[in-house]
Amino acid sequence: MNDFPFLSILTLLPLVGAIAVALIPKAKAELAKTVAFVWSLVVLVLSIFMWIAFQVDGDRFQFRESYAWIPSWDARFTFAADGIALVMLMLIAILFPIVILASWHDVEKTNRSAPVYFSLLLAFEFTMIGVFAAADIFLFYVFFEVMLIPMYFIIGSFGGQRRQYAAVKFFLYSLVGGLFMLAAVIGLWVVGGHTFDFSKLAEAGASIDQNTARWLFLGFFVAFAIKAPFFPFHTWLPDAGGAAPAGAAALLVGVMDKVGTFGILRYCLSLFPEASRWFAPAALVLGVIGIIYAALLAVGQNDLKRLVSYTSIAHFGFIGIGIFAFTTQAGTGSVLYMVNHGLATGLLFIVVGMFVARRGSNLISDFGGAGKLVPVLAGVFFFAGLASLALPGTAPFISEFLVLIGTFTVHPAYAVVATAGIILAAAYVLWMVQRTTQGTLNPALTEVPEMKKDITLREKVVVAPLILLIILLGFYPKPVTDVINPAVQATMQDVGVEDPGPTAVVANERVGR
């Protein structure tokens, strides 16, 4: 089973689907949606098979495939997945059918073409799977840049207010980061011995001159920090998240932004270990600032989608400190956070989208007491909010907790400050829920006929798997952590950092003396 070319097929499948859906005429919107949905389910099924075929105690990189592409540069179509990539691929495969189903009626409000929208979504899935499956830096870079294009058109053509501004800002920010990375990729190619293969470069990485390595690290890091986004490169996300259609916004923060954190883990840390350690204090500070700053801004938002975008920036701060704490615990927590954040924030965005679709407005002040009209939907909203603030029993709690204890063992001060972010998270989530669904009913709401329709069957099908997964992983994260752990340990080995011994044991020894 392990010889089956999972990754290349998984990458190409959505592309074929995207082309097929794009060829469906505009009038046959239902057909296009159905084909797109079924196609994404096929991808999901294949991913599940891949998950089963992955050997937890096997090699770090599995399902390796390599085909010649540009021999004179030694650029190859190399695919391989470690545990981190595997869980991200699984997250993608789960989120896309859900988002496609959630976006079922999104296009009808505009005069745009439904086949184009769903084709763009599948094209986006193609680039997303490709970027996580690539094990050749040239190939990774290609996907890293190309993924901007479908998302640009999704935001620009199908988004809400200020969509042009948001789309251009999104594109330019990412492109700037990408071009810094291009310079670094070229530099790495030259100093790394004219190869793009990740494994070869990881070996060559140690011998790169210290100064050069730091510059190269910076090139990669800026690109990933913009993508993630970390403070202070984050300003595009609230605009993009606010303007994108809700489903696409869920993908934007749920999946695409993870490319940034994934890239730091896979490329920055493994290729430039010394530089990673050198830059770690700065990255930790940025992470902590991001947690507090974004949470404070989230509290003050009146636009639901922008608010959720800011919460994401805060969460990426947690992921960032988890990565740069350089402990296995914190690293595993970060990767788990990437998955859980995709589920929880994805759910939150999708539910917000349901509210916005009914009310026709993103603004919290246009709601108020909505729970009296749509009690079940309000309940789901509340649950998504709780998951997002990492309530114990939901999946994000585990990851946030792991990040904090993993960080505390080495950098107690940062962990303590970051913990304040949890309190702020409670503030922005609960206040948002209160202003939207609780309290006295906003009389304007009763005049909107759609607000009287509670959650539909389609919407139930959309939210149910996410809710189930959030609860399941909240109580039993072992299947995921088992996959992540070896990959994170290998990464920490690359960085050359060992976990600090448990301090409690030291204390006992002293007592013994």
């Binding site: 540009i70 540069w73 789309a167 251009v168 330019l172 291009l182 310079a183 030259v190």
Partner: protein, 510 residues
């Protein structure tokens, strides 16, 4: 009188150029001896046949490496590759030039000498067919360019420079619409071009004074073993470089570019953007790599500064443009900067990557100008940017094609724009020019903005009543567009064959 030994002439190696010059002369006879109504067909066929025959001759010569006709012409890897590139790009430009179905009579004026605005002019603008002298002129220009990239001594190079420049000056003046703008462009190009030629010639004289010879190998030897004042060498090199930098549209010698690109008939603009670039950089490569290799440490920083300035000027001024042709002109200035980055690598990679870039950019820019010829209203081409707003809704296919070309210019992967940028930047890092690469990357960011603005206009704006229509392209323009776009995709996705070709060709003979 002593024996006079004639230098050996390898006619086979010269055949590609001889075919073109012969065909161009034949074309002039056709003008004289055939009736006007059948001239267009005959001339077009003749021109295509000449290009095809010449291309075959180039293919046959592909492994020739020799210096012939008394050291005047070097036929080596770069020559063969660039001549082939010129012929293919020239053929695609010829498709745009030969298009007659988009506009009655084609894009060229019937009689250029008629006073603009006179009654005769109004009459000829409406129903007279375009002049057919454009075909022999184009063939002369392409032939001159082919000689330019093959010239192995400075005087031959100068002659070739004039052979391809003079037809271009004329061609610029022949637009059917907006004739004053076209004539102004031609005059500007002619005057500034003459200055540049004069600089070039003066430089040749100084270098001759320094080295006592005009062949590139004589200059090379003199540079390695100087007998006379170095001032002659540096002043001569600087003046020769000015002449070449002008043709290649590098800052600060680029100021003619936007005006000429805007005023010239769009198919001629396409020819200049694609082929003149190939010719100018081909000659620049040969001069720097073959003749002045010994003083590379002296000219590298100066030309490096020029490359940086060019990229910066092209990118920044492209942001402010409101006319599509001017925008593409500034973008071509910036691209000249990227090409110079590749040239300055001064290694084999630099040579091969620059040649790759020239071909890749040539196809993209031909497709871009090809699309510009299609967006029209009652007054001809509608080149003002604001007029393109909402075109994506009216003609999605053409907007998608143009978007793709713009993404290629912006260097997005899976287009030739990315692979070619990667190639030149990689070569430059290899050649120790990392600072230029960083500069190139930063200006690429700036340059992405104007491209993106056009994409936004095409797709995200609502069409207005004044939005021009996209004409249905005739067979020739369609073919040119298909070739340009297909090459842009192919060189982005599977660049390996062409890269290998450039690598095999990357060796000058001296």
């Amino acid at each position: 009188m002593g024996e006079l030994s004639l230098p050996g002439i390898d006619y086979g190696a010269l055949l590609p150029m001889l075919i073109l010059f012969g065909a161009a002369c034949l074309g002039i006879l056709v003008e004289v001896f055939t009736p006007r109504r059948s001239r267009n067909g005959i001339q077009l066929t003749l021109a295509f046949l000449a290009l095809a025959a010449s291309f075959v001759a180039v293919i046959v010569q592909h492994s020739t490496r020799k210096i012939t006709i008394g050291g005047a012409v070097a036929v080596d890897g770069p020559t063969v590759f660039l001549q082939g590139a010129l012929l293919v790009l020239g053929a695609v430009s010829l498709m745009l030039i030969g298009e007659r179905s988009i506009e009655r009579g084609g894009p060229f004026v019937s009689q250029a000498a008629i006073t603009v605005g006179s009654q005769k002019d109004v009459k000829q603008a409406n129903d007279q067919p375009g002049m057919t002298e454009v075909y022999p002129l184009t063939i002369f220009a392409i032939g001159g360019m082919m000689l330019f990239v093959a010239a192995n001594d400075l005087l031959t190079m100068f002659v070739a420079l004039e052979v391809f420049s003079l037809p271009l000056y004329l061609l610029c003046a022949l637009a059917r619409r907006r004739r004053l703008l076209s004539q102004e462009a031609a005059l500007k190009y002619f005057l500034l071009g003459s200055y540049a030629s004069a600089f070039f010639l003066f430089g040749v004289a100084l270098v001759y004074g320094f080295s006592g010879g005009i062949s590139l190998s004589a200059v090379h030897d003199a540079v390695a073993n100087p007998q006379r004042s170095q001032i002659l060498l540096y002043a001569g090199l600087a003046m020769i470089a000015i002449g070449l930098l002008f043709k290649a549209a590098l800052a600060p010698f680029h100021v003619w570019t936007p005006d000429v690109y805007q005023g010239a008939p769009t198919p001629i603009t396409a020819l200049m953007a694609a082929c003149t670039k190939v010719a100018a950089f081909g000659a620049l490569l040969r001069i720097l790599y073959v003749a002045f290799d010994g003083v590379r440490w002296d000219f590298q920083p100066v030309l490096g500064a020029i490359a940086a300035l060019t990229m910066l000027v092209g990118a920044i001024l492209a942001v402010t443009q409101t006319d599509m042709k001017r925008l593409l002109a500034y973008s071509s200035v910036a691209n000249a900067g990227y090409l110079l980055v590749g040239v300055l690598a001064l290694n084999e990679e630099g040579l091969s990557s620059t040649m790759f870039y020239l071909v890749a950019y040539g196809f993209s820019v031909l497709a871009a100008f090809g699309i510009v010829t299609l967006v029209r209203d009652a007054d001809g081409e509608a080149t003002h940017l604001a007029r393109w707003a909402g075109l994506g809704r009216k003609s999605p296919l053409f907007a998608a094609t143009f978007t793709f070309i713009l993404l290629a210019f912006a260097g997005i992967p899976l287009t030739s724009g990315f692979t070619s940028k990667f190639a030149v930047f990689g070569a430059a890092v290899e050649g120790g020019q990392t600072w230029l690469v960083i500069f190139g990357v930063i200006t690429s960011m700036l340059l992405a903005f104007p491209y993106l603005r056009v994409v936004v206009m095409l797709w995200l704006s609502e069409p207005s009543e004044t939005t021009p229509t996209v004409s249905i392209p005739g067979f020739l323009t369609s073919a040119a567009l298909v070739i340009g776009v297909a090459a842009t995709i192919a060189l982005g996705v599977v660049p390996a064959p062409l890269i290998d070709l450039t690598r095999d060709a990357a060796q000058f003979v001296r």
